[in-house]
């Protein structure tokens, strides 16, 4: 009896080990994997119910509806997304990627979908402005692997101004360190900086904007093996033509960036996407985020 019990354990261990390996996803030609670091509102974040929300993800979902394919969204660290796309583990990278020459060497980009500038975040009581924030010896925070970090490297440190660049896992951590007076300023994209200012309830402010005029793009593997870029580019044009684009921009980048509100709006309205009606979705999302009356599906 004892022996058989022990063997039963061994067999179940093996079954588990093999079973885990056996869960290979079936290759479905029409499902594409979208990878995103879902921790950068308002472009992408996880809401209070654990849903993946944000501008990038909605654009991906709506293009998929318009172009007749399906997507699954995979949450992955920002640094890992380009390697994963190169390795074929993700088909599309959608995580507020700035189109740069360096990245263009290893992946292909869609048409630009967003123009962003870098803003310099400081504590409101620090008295620093966009010049004094970069005084030699000051500590500047940014997220690893971002264009904000690259800007400080190229335009401050390499120009001989000895600031100390502190790199973080995510921007919210850099902002927290700024609030805690561990660093003097944070350089990050404008929409995300606005969210940070609002969330800090007046502790942080934007000292100034650096006109980098960066363009964001969705990225795919070099050579675009699944012919995704024409569909994405065409999908974005269609969204603009149908007015979906403007409504989404209004919902996510409107004056009052309210991360809590979207949880409610999303729960009420995502049914429109399930019904393949992106126009109705975007229109009602904009209304809901603006606090106006909206229609549930």
């Amino acid at each position: 009896m004892r022996v058989s019990v022990r063997w039963a354990v061994v067999v179940s261990v093996l079954a588990l080990v093999l079973g885990v390996g056996g869960l290979v996803p079936q290759a479905q030609t029409q499902t594409f994997r979208v990878c995103s670091d879902i921790a950068w509102p308002p472009f992408e974040w996880v809401d209070a119910k654990g849903e993946f929300v944000g501008f990038d993800l909605d654009v991906m979902r709506i293009i998929a509806i318009l172009k007749g394919y399906k997507i699954t969204i995979q949450n992955l660290g920002f640094d890992s997304i380009i390697p994963a796309v190169q390795a074929g583990q993700c088909d599309i990278g959608a995580s507020g990627f700035t189109i740069t020459e360096e990245r263009k060497r290893v992946v292909d980009f869609s048409d630009p979908y967003w123009e962003s500038n870098q803003s310099v975040l400081v504590r409101a009581d620090s008295g620093l402005n966009i010049i004094t924030a970069f005084r030699p010896g000051n500590k500047i925070g940014a997220q690893r692997g971002t264009t904000g970090a690259a800007w400080v490297e190229d335009n401050v440190i390499k120009q001989g101004i000895a600031v100390e660049l502190k790199l973080y896992e995510t921007y919210p951590l850099a902002e927290q360190d700024l609030i805690n007076k561990q660093i003097h300023a944070v350089v990050e994209d404008e929409p995300a900086a606005k969210v940070a200012v609002k969330a800090s309830k007046g502790v942080l402010k934007i000292a100034g904007i650096i006109m980098t005029e960066e363009q964001f793009g969705f990225l795919v593997r070099k050579g675009d093996p699944h012919r995704l870029l024409p569909r994405i580019n065409d999908g974005m044009k269609e969204m603009k033509k149908k007015g979906i684009w403007n409504n989404l921009v209004e919902a996510y980048f409107g004056v009052d960036v309210n991360l809590e509100r979207i949880t409610q709006c999303w729960a009420d309205l995502k049914g429109w996407l399930d019904k393949n009606q992106p126009e109705a979705y975007a229109e009602n999302l904009a209304a809901c985020m603006a606090g106006e009356s909206y229609k549930k599906p």
């Binding site: 080990v17 885990v20 996803p25 390795a87 919210p172």
Partner: protein
């Protein structure tokens, strides 16, 4: 204050979801590591010289690798090979890759726990078993292993609490476990300190529960009279 408590309360479902992933990963990797670790230890102690050397090389290699480096190399390496040669069967889900990598890594550590335990069994017992007509394999299977596995439990429980926390590296390849869930909530609510204190408490509970369970197993399977098994016996002697 009340508002903060409410935030913790509202975050719990997502955090517990992450805790379940952490536990699933921990249990699976420990089982993979257990099977491989015992085999490696047996090879090191009883195997012929070349096998013993091979097992030692395996153990040293995986103990030398930082888990994060191993995760990234294996995950992106497998996907790259799968893509280059169109081998779709090699496209493992990320959770499986995490179990595999953590399991290999842990097996190297576990092998040393088991090697120590096996070597604590006096060789005289094996001689006696052979004298009774048992084969080498039977002697290992019925004399050494039953005792050694019991002796290994305290060290193994240490391995449990170690790997439980290592699993937070799994997000590098996209497994959303407890620590990452905490990140995501902190990103949205900007309550870093509060959320991570909660995460820390959950890790504490998981560690405590796991080691308590293993202690229970240890007491349950203990053989009366087998040296070094019971705290009470040690206390009585001195």
């Amino acid at each position: 204050m009340l508002e903060k408590l409410r935030l913790v309360w509202e975050s719990l479902p997502l955090l517990l979801q992450g805790a379940i992933v952490t536990l699933e990963l921990t249990v699976s990797l420990l089982l993979v590591g257990l099977v491989l670790g015992v085999l490696v230890a047996l090879g090191q102690v009883y195997g012929p010289r070349p096998l013993a050397m091979l097992m030692s090389a395996y153990e040293r290699f995986f103990r030398a690798m930082p888990i994060l480096v191993l995760l990234i190399v294996v995950n992106f390496g497998l996907a790259f090979v799968a893509n280059t040669y169109q081998w779709d069967w090699l496209r493992l889900p990320t959770f499986a890759v995490a179990v595999l990598v953590f399991g290999l890594h842990s097996s190297a550590y576990q092998s040393q726990i088991f090697r120590g335990a096996i070597q604590a069994i006096k060789p005289g017992q094996l001689l006696a078993a052979r004298a009774l007509g048992m084969t080498r394999l039977q002697a290992i299977r019925y004399i050494t292993l039953p005792q050694a596995l019991r002796l290994a439990i305290p060290g193994w429980s240490n391995e449990y609490s170690g790997v439980l926390k290592d699993t937070s590296f799994a997000f590098a390849i996209g497994v959303t476990e407890l620590a990452r869930q905490g990140w995501q909530i902190a990103t949205r609510t900007r309550e870093m300190f509060l959320i991570f204190i909660t995460v820390a408490l959950i890790y504490l509970v998981l560690t405590y529960l796991g080691t308590w369970l293993l202690e229970l197993v240890e007491r349950r399977v203990s053989v009366p009279g087998l040296a070094g098994q019971r705290r009470e016996e040690h206390g009585r002697v001195i």
